[in-house]
């Protein structure tokens, strides 16, 4: 089920209000049932995977805790990780590997056509972090199966993050309070996320589709396309994270933040501290540091970086362009540390951003390519080797048409609007205005967002495919 769907907003959520009237001891059960139903709507068959994953990690973690410090715990941890990675590998990477083998050896092994279960990359990473934390002694094994299953299946972050670790919500899974503040901040966050998704991300997606459809492309349009896609994926994913965090707050949870205005970064390494923060944190804590992190020789550090960024790329999708996307960032990060990091430090903030933004736009052109041919075609178009004119009539039309939205998206991707509003709201006049303005803003986001959904516009969630 999509957050930005009529069935979620005006059927699922109103029915879920029952959560607030049942006794507190029933709330996890209500959440669990609601979450399974939420997943069942999108994946009627694969919901069994979710149940299996909950059961597997529940029993594995109990066993690990019972035998902590022994070889048995290590074997159980290995078993748990193997099951999770096995599920992920089987459903996500089988056909990719078959394709790679066929391409490499010239064989004709038929593809399986296995469909990717929605959100499998997210929930397998969440459950792996849980068993690893139990193994490390950082978390206690959950003894209540319903509570454990509620953690695994929790619908707000189930299918597209943020990647919530058990430690993030351990206390709230057992005892949480819902206050006026949490309801208020959750409602605002949810409405902002809906607006980001429906008003900006979907429109940027339409602009990207227009780029693919035009007959008279241009070098300028290739860059506009890369910028539009970067903004689409940011507002799509950050919008979803906002909605998830907002829903979490309304339900009494505090999920970790996932984005911190990544496009204002002045280095690539800073970008990755601001973009998909929960995934970056996961790879840091469960892969990079166990590999030795940066407290190793230069050669080993480059190897560690290569492993982490190849994994980051492939986590996003089982295709070569995602692998190259990860490698691209790995190379940039190594270069920032070993080659031009010193030079960057001498530049002021403006020039550092002039350095970062084109590199990011190129990265998103790689990310969104449907195949290697499209990838090379898009990159050639961007650097003027695609045989296109610098400008075309259609480029002008689409730029004019999307000018307001592009401007709103660019400004909205910086902290400026939030800072201005907070500064104004802190004044006496601002306090008075916000009493009316904030409820009206919520209403406007809900109603305008609904209007876009009712009119049946373009509405995919990009991160579902990961």
């Amino acid at each position: 089920m999509l957050f930005s769907s009529i069935s979620f907003l005006y059927l699922f959520l109103p029915v879920l209000l029952v959560y607030y009237v049942v006794p507190k001891s029933w709330r996890n059960h209500v959440l669990l049932i609601a979450s399974l139903l939420f997943y069942f709507v999108g994946e009627p068959v694969y919901v069994t995977l979710l149940i299996f994953s909950s059961l597997s990690d529940f029993f594995h973690s109990l066993y690990i805790e019972k035998h902590r410090g022994t070889k048995k715990a290590k074997i159980a941890l290995t078993s748990s990780i193997a099951i999770n990675l096995g599920m992920l590998g089987f459903f996500k990477y089988t056909d990719f590997l078959i394709g790679a083998v066929n391409g490499l050896l010239g064989t004709a092994i038929p593809l399986t056509g296995i469909e990717l279960p929605i959100g499998i990359s997210f929930f397998t990473f969440q459950t792996m972090s849980y068993t690893i934390d139990v193994y490390r002694g950082d978390a206690k094994a959950e003894r209540n199966l319903a509570t454990m299953a509620t953690f695994v299946c929790l619908f707000p972050q189930l299918v597209a993050g943020p990647i919530v670790r058990y430690l993030d919500v351990d206390r709230e899974l057992h005892q949480r309070s819902i206050t006026l503040d949490s309801l208020y901040s959750g409602a605002v966050r949810f409405a902002v996320g809906l607006g980001k998704k429906v008003l900006i991300a979907n429109a940027m997606g339409s602009l990207c589709a227009d780029y693919r459809a035009v007959t008279e492309g241009s070098v300028a349009f290739a860059w506009v396309y890369a910028a539009a896609f970067a903004l689409q994926i940011y507002f799509d994913f950050a919008g979803y994270s906002d909605m998830a965090i907002g829903l979490g707050r309304m339900l009494g949870f505090h999920f970790p933040e996932n984005f911190d205005y990544p496009f204002i970064s002045s280095t690539i390494s800073e970008f990755w501290r601001r973009w998909h923060m929960t995934l970056g944190g996961w790879f840091r804590d469960y892969l990079y540091i166990p590999l030795g992190g940066n407290r190793v020789s230069k050669g080993r550090w480059i190897f560690n970086t290569a492993v982490v960024w190849a994994a980051t790329g492939l986590w996003h999708g089982a295709a070569w362009n995602f692998l190259w996307w990860g490698v691209y960032f790995g190379v940039l990060l190594v270069c920032e540390k070993l080659v031009w990091g010193g030079l960057l430090k001498k530049l002021n903030g403006f020039w550092r951003r002039v350095y970062v933004l084109p590199l990011l736009l190129v990265s998103f052109a790689i990310f969104n390519a449907a195949n290697m041919q499209q990838l090379t075609g898009d990159l050639k178009n961007m650097i003027g080797l695609g045989g296109l004119d610098l400008w075309s009539f259609e480029t002008g039309y689409y730029l004019r048409s999307y000018a307001v939205l592009l401007l709103a998206a660019v400004v909205g991707a910086t902290p400026l609007p939030k800072r201005l509003w907070q500064r104004f709201a802190a004044t006496k006049a601002g306090q008075a205005v916000s009493v009316v303005a904030e409820p009206l803003f919520i209403l406007a986001m809900l109603l305008i967002g609904t209007a876009y959904l009712v009119d049946g516009s373009f509405n995919p969630f990009l991160y579902f495919r990961f």
């Binding site: 006026l180 208020y184 409602a187 605002v188 008279e216 307001v404 939205l405 305008i448 009119d455």
Partner: protein, 362 residues
């Protein structure tokens, strides 16, 4: 004050979600949308097969969307927000310029146009017994509106050049038309404005230049064209006019598809999903029209799209017989069973949009 704001925010969200949920349950479901000219989805039947295939939930979402309370109002809100707040130039490819709604139709698709050309040429080559073949293209509204208002448009010059591949004489009606000859909320031309087009076509085919009937105009208000509902904008209704004469009153129109006689004009069809059906009952695969007031024995076979419905009555006076063929609804391989080409003038009259979608011709 801070607490009041928080209460208001939470209440705004809760009341919106619950209010619309309640309205969805309480309001009766509609059968069809007159604005969008289509049937609305109904509550899907719950079966295990559909539930486990996921089809049920897709159908349920479609049902909830179609039966959404104040659906047309929400569509209007989106359209206005799109145009007036976000400044987007089009909404679902529809744009509003110079008082007209139009739909972006570009680029020129040479392969599609070639399909149309090949189809026409095959018909011409297959019927050498005809008198002479002609073709004419009707400019769609984008010809007048698009480039002039900064919208992308198909390359009309290239289209006309490609159309020279039709083995027939071209009758150029582009100079006879302006944007004012079209409905503001529809793609079609207005019958009362195309007398000069009919004269030009008739003159080219028959040589007659001055034998024009007197017409009596008959009008109805409240015409809302196909773009009106699609755009969801609040635009005023228009006046639809039909032109009557002794010829149109006396003509006998026979629908082969319906196997019965129909009227040249049918005001009853004004309330159809497409009010343009008033002219010759709209989409008809094959019509034969006898004009008892014309004894010259001439026969016109008109291959046409929907634009042909309104101009045919204006061509009647020049011919004793007109056969109106729509090969979007009738395979051209069946022509010999139903149409006698002997000594007939043959006219291929199509809008440029239709020509640019040649695959729809059978």
């Amino acid at each position: 004050m801070e607490k009041l704001k928080k209460y208001l925010v939470v209440a705004a969200m809760a009341l919106t979600l619950v209010g619309i949920f309640a309205a969805h349950i309480l309001l009766p479901d509609g059968e069809f949308s007159s604005a969008e000219r289509r049937k609305l989805a109904q509550l899907p039947e719950l079966t295990m097969e559909d539930v486990f295939s996921g089809d049920y939930f897709d159908d349920l979402e479609e049902y909830l969307l179609d039966q959404f309370p104040l659906r047309d109002g929400f569509r209007r809100l989106k359209a206005n927000f799109q145009y007036k707040v976000l400044g987007l130039q089009d909404n679902n490819d529809l744009y509003y310029a110079d008082g007209h709604l139009s739909k972006l139709d570009y680029p020129l698709k040479p392969t599609q146009a070639q399909l149309a050309i090949d189809k026409f040429n095959a018909i011409i080559a297959g019927h050498p017994q005809m008198n002479k073949a002609y073709y004419s293209l009707i400019p769609d509204k984008n010809y007048f509106l698009a480039e002039a208002n900064g919208y992308p448009a198909m390359d009309y010059a290239a289209l006309l050049q490609q159309a020279e591949g039709i083995h027939a004489e071209y009758i150029d009606i582009f100079p006879c038309l302006t944007i004012d000859d079209y409905y503001a909320t529809d793609s079609h031309w207005r019958q009362e404005k195309i007398g000069k087009v009919a004269q030009k076509l008739a003159h080219a085919m028959t040589g007659i230049i001055d034998d024009v009937s007197d017409y009596t105009a008959e009008s109805r208000d409240g015409f809302r064209g196909v773009y009106h509902g699609q755009s969801a904008l609040s635009l005023p209704g228009e006046t639809m006019t039909i032109l009557r004469s002794d010829v149109t009153d006396a003509a006998k129109v026979f629908s082969v598809e319906q196997n019965k006689e129909i009227g040249v004009y049918n005001w009853d069809d004004f309330n159809n999903l497409d009010p343009y059906d008033v002219y010759l009952s709209g989409a008809e695969a094959l019509l034969t029209i006898e004009n008892p007031l014309q004894s010259n024995g001439r026969h016109l076979i008109l291959f046409r799209d929907s634009f042909g419905s309104s101009i045919t009555p204006l061509l009647m006076e020049y011919y004793s017989r007109i056969t109106v063929v729509d090969i979007r609804y009738m395979a051209s391989s069946l022509l010999d069973e139903y149409v006698d080409f002997t000594d007939a003038d043959v006219l291929f009259l199509y809008c440029t949009s239709m020509f640019n979608a040649g695959a729809t011709l059978k």
